[in-house]
């Protein structure tokens, strides 16, 4: 009997591995296809033949065309500036706000919870209308700084909530011991809490960077000049433009996802726990 039970268990876990592999294949295929297309010579792109694997003709032609005939480097630099700015700003703001809600929160907590839900309900395509008018009047259209502060405002409600849930998991006794030793409130946050918050901050940083890097709506509306576009707006401008070959478009796709994938690989193990802490309690 024990043999048959073990046999069934082994077959169940074989099914588990196979189904997981199939889902992983579906998850990875578009990324794979992006890469495969990017290294294909343009002469082979417009062929009705199914070719799932690269052959000996793999070339960097797409990347060379992308960087020599388009301001792709500028777009990448713009995305980097917007993302760095929004990530740093939103993380600092939401560490403060999350800590405040976790330790000093009364009514503020409910307000913040409501704000999170509200900000999820508000269509960006509505808010961008008055934002466009306001930034036009301020002379901030085509200004990367405008994108930094708008992205920050839309990231902060979520990361604040994530970090609040994370700080809730740190026992208060640790701070009380610091108070007894005479440390001030800010000093306690800076020297006691922050060093313990690496995983929570890593998750918040990843979330913020993924959102800011992916922003298309605000960039498309507030950045009309090609010289200040981020990479998302560059990709969108290629779609449906028959002058740009698919290997160049996919090459831009590849360079646009590499930084996010590296960040994701570095922080993935913190994401699952931190994202959930916020969602389960939210």
């Amino acid at each position: 009997m024990s043999v048959s039970v073990r046999g069934r268990k082994a077959s169940v876990s074989a099914v588990r591995v196979v189904v997981s592999l199939l889902i992983a294949l579906a998850a990875i295929f578009p990324i794979y296809w992006m890469l495969i297309t990017a290294i294909r010579p343009s002469s082979q792109l417009l062929s009705p033949q199914l070719a799932l694997f690269p052959d000996g003709s793999a070339t960097l032609e797409g990347f060379i065309g992308l960087f020599t005939q388009n301001p792709a480097l500028t777009w990448l630099a713009n995305s980097t500036l917007i993302t760095l700015g929004s990530t740093v700003l939103s993380t600092v703001i939401s560490v403060f706000a999350g800590y405040s809600l976790s330790r000093f929160g009364g009514r503020g907590q409910q307000v913040m919870g409501l704000t999170l839900l509200m900000s999820r309900m508000l269509p960006g395509s509505l808010l961008v209308i008055p934002l466009y008018v306001v930034f036009l009047n301020l002379g901030l259209v085509n200004n990367l700084f405008a994108l930094v502060i708008i992205n920050t405002a839309f990231i902060v409600p979520f990361t604040t909530w994530m970090l609040k849930a994370f700080f809730d998991g740190i026992p208060r006794e640790i701070e009380e011991a610091a108070f007894v030793d005479g440390a001030g409130l800010f000093r306690t946050l800076w020297t006691i809490i922050l060093p313990l918050s690496g995983p929570g901050i890593a998750a918040a940083v990843t979330y913020a960077a993924v959102l800011a890097w992916a922003d298309f709506l605000f960039a498309r509306t507030l950045l009309t000049n090609q010289a200040v576009w981020p990479v998302t707006q560059g990709i969108a401008s290629f779609m449906g433009d028959y002058r740009t070959a698919w290997n160049e478009i996919m090459a831009l796709g590849v360079v646009s996802i590499v930084p996010m994938i590296l960040l994701f690989l570095a922080t993935e193990r913190f994401l699952v726990s931190s994202l959930t802490a916020g969602a389960v309690k939210g």
Binding site: I31, T115, A236, I249
Partner: protein, 292 residues
């Protein structure tokens, strides 16, 4: 100053920057949108201070059949994206909860689409679903499932499917992550107790697993639905809402009315109506959440 008072001030001081940002860049534009939506005239503008007050844009929005058609399309887009993404996310979470060789790599691979920008995902799906040279038609043709190529994004019958697929592809890892972590909070003893009572795999799922993840699952469903409801990054670059409005959801309609037709008052009223609909959805879903 007492410590208690200092603590209160410190608490509010830490919260202040977040409130300023959200207030100035989310709440204030919302107020301006409301103002815009009740400013009469075809070319209502935030700069004309004389303005006036009228519900005419709301009358036009609510009386237009296109509003209700776009609401229906939004419902199809949200349900068509969220339901399969949730089902796959749940399957992934259940498959990956137990250790097996290579699980860590598989998990990373499966969660990867979450990090891909929506526009980049749209670009590769536009290419994969290309009518003449796309790999999807080539595979279908190769398998003998089609004899003539399908024009996925330029046919009104298939365009909605074409925008749902990349949206769901990017969304399902979100569910997988939430559910994976929720599964980790279920004590193993519960499963052992269920097995002792003779519960099979399905009974274990129904009586132990599902009750353990239900709360997280519903919260994630609401958050994800609201996210897809206002999604812009897939439909706009892929189809601009076309062909023939077949993929014009409310979020896309608001943008087109404002930035393509300069119909700001109408766009603002449509936006406020779409927020009201989302609020009703959250209230109903919140009530059902407590019941389940």
């Amino acid at each position: 100053m007492t410590l208690g008072r200092r603590r209160t001030i410190f608490g509010y001081a830490l919260l202040a920057p977040a409130i300023v940002f959200v207030g100035v860049l989310i709440a204030y534009p919302l107020v301006l949108s409301l103002q815009l939506s009740v400013t009469p005239g075809r070319f209502a503008s935030l700069r004309s201070s004389e303005g006036g007050f009228s519900f005419e844009h709301y009358v036009t929005v609510l009386g237009s059949p296109e509003t209700w058609a776009s609401l229906l399309r939004t419902g199809i887009y949200v349900a068509g994206t969220v339901i399969p993404a949730f089902a796959i996310g749940l399957a992934v979470a259940l498959l990956l909860r137990e250790a097996f060789p290579g699980r860590r790599w598989l998990r990373t691979a499966i969660l990867l689409p979450w990090a891909v920008p929506g526009v980049a995902a749209s670009a590769v799906f536009l290419w994969m679903f290309d009518a003449s040279f796309g790999v999807v038609n080539q595979i279908l043709f190769h398998l003998g499932l089609i004899s003539t190529p399908i024009a996925w994004y330029s046919s009104a019958d298939t365009a909605m499917f074409g925008v749902i697929v990349p949206t769901a592809w990017k969304l399902f890892p979100f569910f997988a992550m939430i559910l994976l972590a929720a599964l980790q909070t279920i004590p193993q003893d519960l499963y052992e107790a269920a097995r002792v009572d003779g519960a099979g795999r399905y009974q274990q799922f129904a009586h132990v697993t599902w009750p353990g993840v239900r709360g997280a699952a519903f919260t994630a469903l609401i958050i994800a639905s609201l996210g897809v409801y206002r999604e812009f990054d897939f439909i706009f670059p892929l189809t601009r809402g076309g062909p023939n409005n077949a993929t014009t959801t409310m979020a896309i309609a608001i943008y087109q009315e404002a930035f393509q037709f300069s119909n700001l008052g109408f766009a603002a009223a449509l936006g406020i109506v779409s927020i009201a609909i989302a609020a009703v959805f959250v209230l109903i879903a919140g009530r059902d959440l407590r019941k389940v």
